[in-house]
C-alpha cells in the first residue's frame, strides 16, 4: 500500500506540467493543420468540383446574368480539406489559421464572384471567363475559328451540328 503511494509520488513528481499555457502563450500550429479556407477568385473557374466533394455540403453555386457566385458558408466547415484536394485550379488554399471564434456568422462566409461569358449566338451566359481563358490557353493552335467556337454555348453548338451550316 505504502509502496504504491511512494511510486505514485515519484511518477508525478518527476514530470513537469504537460498542459500548454494557451491562450496566454500562442501556439505554433502543426505543419498539417487544416484551418480556415482561402479562395482565390482569380483562379476559380466555377467548375463545381468542390461542391460535389464537400461532406458538409456548405458550398453553393448560383448563376446570375453576368456573374457566377460561389458561396462558402464556412461556419459549417469541418476542415477536411477535400475541396482543396479536388480543386483542379488550386484556387482553394487551406491556411493554418484556427482561431476563428466570432460573434458574427457573416465573418466566416466566403463569397466570390466570377465573370461569366455570354454565348455569341444566343447571348445566354454559359461559362466563366476564367474557364474560357483556360480553354483558350489549352488550344494547340490558337486560330481565330477555334477560339470563336469556344465562345458558343453547348446548346447552340448542338443546334448547329444538327441544323448544319456555320454562322462564320
Amino acid at each position: 500500500m505504502f509502496k504504491s503511494k511512494i511510486k505514485a509520488l515519484l511518477l508525478s513528481s518527476r514530470q513537469k506540467k504537460i498542459t500548454r499555457p494557451y491562450p496566454f502563450v500562442p501556439v505554433t500550429p502543426p505543419e498539417n493543420l487544416r484551418g480556415r479556407l482561402e479562395v482565390d477568385a482569380n483562379k476559380c473557374i466555377g467548375c463545381g468540383s468542390c461542391v460535389r466533394t464537400c461532406p458538409s455540403r456548405l458550398i453553393k453555386i448560383e448563376n446570375t446574368e453576368d456573374e457566377r457566385t460561389v458561396m462558402f458558408t464556412a461556419g459549417r466547415c469541418i476542415y477536411c480539406g477535400r475541396c482543396a484536394q479536388s480543386c483542379p485550379e488550386k484556387a482553394i488554399h487551406i491556411t493554418h489559421e484556427f482561431e476563428l471564434a466570432t460573434d458574427n456568422k457573416k465573418d466566416l462566409e466566403i463569397i466570390i464572384k466570377i465573370k461569366m461569358v455570354q454565348c455569341t449566338v444566343c447571348g445566354k451566359p454559359f461559362t466563366s471567363l476564367n474557364m474560357l481563358n483556360k480553354q483558350i490557353e489549352r488550344l494547340k493552335d490558337k486560330t481565330e475559328e477555334d477560339i470563336n467556337k469556344l465562345k458558343i454555348c453547348p446548346e447552340c453548338k448542338r443546334k448547329m451540328q444538327t441544323g448544319g451550316g456555320s454562322p462564320f
Binding site: 500500500m1 509502496k3 504504491s4 503511494k5 511510486k7 505514485a8 515519484l10 511518477l11 508525478s12 514530470q15 504537460i18 498542459t19 502543426p30 505543419e31 498539417n32 493543420l33 487544416r34 460535389r52 466533394t53 464537400c54 461532406p55 455540403r57 469541418i78 476542415y79 477536411c80 480539406g81 477535400r82 484536394q85
Partner: protein, 546 residues
Amino acid sequence: MENFKETLVYISSNIETIDEKNIVIRTEPSQIKEVAKLLEIQGARFIHLTAIDFISQKNKIELNYFFSILQDNLNIIVKVEIDPLTPSISSISEITPAVIWSERECNDLFGIKFEGHPDPRRLVLSDDWPEGIHPLRKNFQYNISPPEVKQPVALKKPEEGKTVIPIGPFYPSLEEPAYFRLIVDGEEIVDFDYRGFYVHRGIEKLAESALNYQQIPFLAERICGICGFVHSCAYCQAVEKAGGIEIPVRAKFIRSMFLELERLHSHLLWIGLAAHIVGFDTLFMQAWRIREPVMYLCEMITGNRKTYGINIVGGVTINVLPQHLKDMEGIISQIEKEVIQLREIILDDEVIQLRFKNVGVLTQNDAKKYCVCGPVARASGVNIDMRINFPYAAYPMLSFRVPLNKSGDVWARTIIRLEEILISISILKQIIENIPEGPTSIKISKIEPWKEAISYIEAPRGQLFHYVMTGPDGRPYRWSVRAPSYQNYQALAIMLKGASIADAPLIIGSIDPCFSCTERYEAIDIRKKIPRVYSVEELKRCLKAR
C-alpha cells in the same frame, strides 16, 4: 463446417456461399427460430440485426441477421423477407438474448413487430415521436421532422417495496447524457433500466439519403468522440470490399497505425476515468498526462488531435514522413516506461483492489450469451479479437498476442486494458519497422450497385461492425453500424444485479460505455439546436432553465 452446411440444408435450400468467409442463408419468416437455434448449437455468435427497405423494388422488407463462427472465421447472414403490410416475425430473444436491443431498434426504425419479445418498449425513438412513423423506411424523408406527440413515458415499474434510484439523464462521472434507473432493495441493486439514445443524430439516414461514398467517411468519423477513426475505417473497408477495391499496402499500415494510437489513448483515458470514479485523482491526472503526447503526435501527423479526417474510400489522404516515425518511436518508448510504472502503482494499491475486485462480475457463460466484445469479453475469458479472427488492414502482417483473464470483474478489465496498451505499443513498433514505401491511396472508379459487404474492426471498446449495401445513386442503399458498446450495455443488467449502489458508477464505467457510438442514428431535424429526444418533463424544465 461441412457438417454444418449439411444440417442447414434441412432448414433452407437456399444457401449461397459468397466466398470462403461469407455464407448467405435465405429462409422463410416462419423458420427463423429453427435457424437461430441451429446456429446457436453450432456456436455462432450473434452480431447484429438490421432491416433493408425494398418496398419500392419488390414490395418486401428484408431482415438481415448477422452471425459469425469465430473458430471457422465464418460470417453468416440470414436473410428473411417479410411483407411490409403485416410486418411481423417471431422474436429470437429466447434463443439469443443478445438480440433484444436490435429487435427493439428494428421495431422503432422499420416498424417490424417481434412476437414474443420480452421488452417491446421503444429504444431509439424519443418518447414524443408519433406512432407509425418509421424513419429508416425509404418513404420517410431525412429532412422532415414530424410533430411532437404527448405520450406516456414507458419506464420500468419497480416491484412493491423496491425503490428507484435515478442516475442521469446526465451521467455524472462520464459527462454524457444517459438515464440509468437502478431499482434497489435497500443497498442492493435488484433490477436495472436504461433509457438512452439522447444523442441520436440521424447519421445513417443522412448518409443513405444525401451524401456520396467519399463524403460519408467524414460523417462516420463523427459517430464517436474518442474512437472515431475506427468508424471511418470500418466504413471505408466495407465499401472497398463491396466495390472490389484493393488499397495500397502503405495505406493499410497507416490505418493500422492510427487504430493502435487510438487504442493507446482511449485505454489511457479509461484508466484515468476509472481512477477518477473511485476518487484516486493522482492516478487520473497521471494517466491523462501520459496520454497527452499521443494526442500531440496525432496532431503533428494529421493536423488534428482527434477526428483526423484522413480516411477515404481507396486509402488515406496523408502521408507519414520518416521524421514522424522517428518521433513516434521516442514517444511510445517513453509511454511504455510510464505505463509499466502506472501498472505497478495500480497492482500494488490495496484500495483500488478492494474497490475493483469481485465487483461487476460477468461470467464466461453470460459473456457468451450476451455476445459482449472487446476487453469486457476478454476479461471474462472469451477469446475474441477481430484483429485475429477477421484480420483487416495491416494486421495479417503483424504478430501480437491477445490477453485473457478469467475472473470477469472490474479488476480483470483494468488489467486487460493495461496489457493491451503495452501490446499496442509493440504493434506500433512493428509498424514503424515494417511500413513499406508506396502510394497512400488509389483512385476509385464507379462502384457497382447492390453489392454488400461486412467489415469488422477491433475498436478500443470491442468488436465494431459495419454493413454496407451499395446503391444506384452513388451512395450506400443501406449502411448499418453496430458499435461495441451497444452489445456491452445489454450485459450491464447482469453485472449490476446484486451489486451495491456505490459500485454502480464504477461498473457502468468499467465497460467503457460510449454513448455517441451506441446512439448513432435517428431522423431528427439537424438544424434544431435542442434535440427533440429530451422529452421527459423534468428534462424540459432543465432545458428551459438553461
